[in-house]
């Protein structure tokens, strides 16, 4: 099916639940005779991924494989169907979903126009006026779909390091959990959450602590929740993103590299840490402090007090734009988290190997 004109779109009517159901029917056609079923444990719940063949398996499961469960061991609380046109020949069913925006040849793939329909019970998004990817989630059925024109677009889209992020966010809206952009490291007794925009130094801090033996909850995206005056961080993905100029200082992570991306002029290396870390190193823990890193120069790193409002902005500014449904709930969860634990600026110096000791002694957290 080709893209619609805006006048056709304006006449069309689509409910999110119907659009998701129609696309799951398209998946059934694509998967006939070649379906693969993979189960994962995400935040203590079973998520089932149904694939039409194996063409998308690597790109959609690399960052989740450390959460793999025996297939069929428990009933899923979320089921995602995924397929691509290149290997199956099956298109998504986007009838009635408006396609707006103009193609801009000067924009990169990730900035292609995207049309989003969302309602009280889910969402459908389409990437590109000539669709190259689409996804949707129906909260009533806890069912989702993801379609790509070909496997290679998933890497350019960022899905390889944070697969199904929008679907997981929508699924978790009514739960205490909130996916956020940030990093977290610590031990079962407690750790720190790192927040800030691209290039702030989150990954450098996280990976220096991982090198020192700390538990890893996340580097790019992770889940947080706040309850009874305590905040918690939990791992979603086994992926990490490191500025290319820092990659040399973490040469032991080279076997985990899967590619490079350029974001806002900053080149980063994508990594799948489960290539170099055992599953026991991925975990969840109470958050004892929020750190807001920034490259300050100088020889020594230092911590100084900051406000809950600064933490709210730092977490929210790089998280909220991705979360197009449930903005109100996400804002509540993020600000509640920021108001629960102490917040510090982390002025990063050249001494990145000293960061675990600095954070460990000042905040009282660290490796087991």
């Amino acid at each position: 099916m080709g893209p619609q004109s805006s006048s056709e779109a304006a006449r069309a009517t689509v409910s999110v639940a119907d659009a998701v159901a129609r696309n799951r029917a398209a998946f059934e056609e694509a998967a006939r005779g070649r379906e693969r079923v993979l189960d994962f444990e995400v935040l203590g719940r079973t998520v089932r991924l149904r694939l039409a063949g194996d063409s998308l398996e690597r790109d959609l499961t690399d960052a989740l494989r450390h959460h793999a469960l025996p297939a069929g061991a428990s009933e899923p609380e979320l089921e995602i169907c995924a397929w691509d046109r290149h290997s199956t020949g099956v298109e998504p069913d986007l009838r009635g979903v408006p396609a707006l925006g103009e193609e801009d040849p000067g924009k990169s793939l990730i900035h292609s126009p995207r049309t989003i329909v969302h309602g009280p019970n889910g969402f459908v998004t389409v990437q590109g006026t000539v669709p190259w990817a689409a996804q949707g989630f129906d909260a009533g059925r806890r069912a989702a779909f993801l379609w790509a024109s070909e496997p290679s677009v998933l890497g350019a889209w960022g899905e390889r390091t944070k697969p199904f992020l929008e679907i997981l966010h929508a699924w978790l809206i009514d739960s205490p959990w909130q996916p956020i952009h940030g990093g977290a490291v610590g031990s079962p007794d407690g750790g720190v959450l790192l927040a800030g925009g691209p290039g702030a130094g989150k990954s450098t801090t996280v990976l220096s602590c991982v090198r020192a033996g700390w538990l890893y909850a996340g580097d790019d995206y992770l889940a947080v929740r706040t309850s009874d005056g305590e905040a918690f961080a939990a791992n979603l993905y086994g992926s990490a993103r490191l500025c290319v100029d820092m990659a040399e200082r973490f040469s032991e992570l080279r076997p985990a590299e899967i590619g490079a991306v350029s974001m806002n002029g900053i080149e980063k290396r994508d990594m799948i840490l489960s290539e170099v870390l055992p599953p026991a190193r991925f975990g969840a823990f109470p958050i004892r402090a929020i750190l807001l890193p920034r490259i300050a120069g100088g020889s020594r790193s230092a911590l100084r007090p900051a406000s809950a409002a600064e933490a709210s902005v730092a977490i929210g500014a790089s998280t909220m734009h991705l979360l197009r449904v449930g903005a109100s709930a996400a804002f509540e969860k993020i600000t509640a988290l920021a108001g629960t634990v102490p917040v510090h600026r982390l002025d990063l110096g050249e001494d990145i190997d000293a960061l675990p000791e600095l954070i460990g002694s000042e905040i009282g957290v660290g490796s087991e």
Binding site: D18, L100, R114, I116, G119, S307, H321
Partner: protein, 148 residues
């Protein structure tokens, strides 16, 4: 040209796109529509709390006059300036249909007055404005929810 706020009409957040959180000495406001975060400090925190109670500009000025030690004209000028900025940023509107709450009485000893401080963060603006969003109700596109 922006229309001036009716000083005697109750105020409220402009839409469901405006989210706010009051911390001890700072208020964080997020406008999802423009992709802008705002921070209010000093007496701006008092002003925002009064807006949350649907106070009018006149009542806000009176309430700050009871709480802070400063000439009434100085407080009135600072309040008007802040409310004009919040209205121009589409964060607040006057809504005559609302009932005004009564501001809590001022402290016995007035505190020194510090004019409201406003800071805006546009970090996520470009990212947020990339994508057209169509909010739909249960009937689906093109049926949009009633404007709140």
């Amino acid at each position: 040209m922006e229309e001036k706020l009716d000083r005697d009409a109750p105020l409220r957040a402009a839409s469901a796109n405006v989210h706010s959180k009051v911390f001890d000495d700072e208020v964080v406001i997020l406008d999802m529509k423009s992709g802008t975060y705002f921070s209010l400090r000093a007496s701006g925190v008092d002003v925002w709390k009064l807006i949350e109670g649907h106070a009018s500009a006149t009542r806000i000025t009176e309430a700050l006059g009871e709480r802070f030690d400063a000439p009434p004209e100085e407080i009135a000028t600072a309040v008007d300036s802040l409310l004009d900025e919040l209205a121009a940023s589409a964060l607040i509107v006057a809504d005559p249909s609302l009932d005004q709450s009564s501001p809590s009485p001022g402290r016995e000893e007035k505190a020194p007055f510090t004019a409201p401080q406003v800071e805006r963060f546009t970090d996520m603006q470009e990212l947020l404005l990339l994508d057209p969003i169509h909010e739909v109700d249960d009937a689906g596109w093109p049926h949009t929810p009633m404007t709140r």
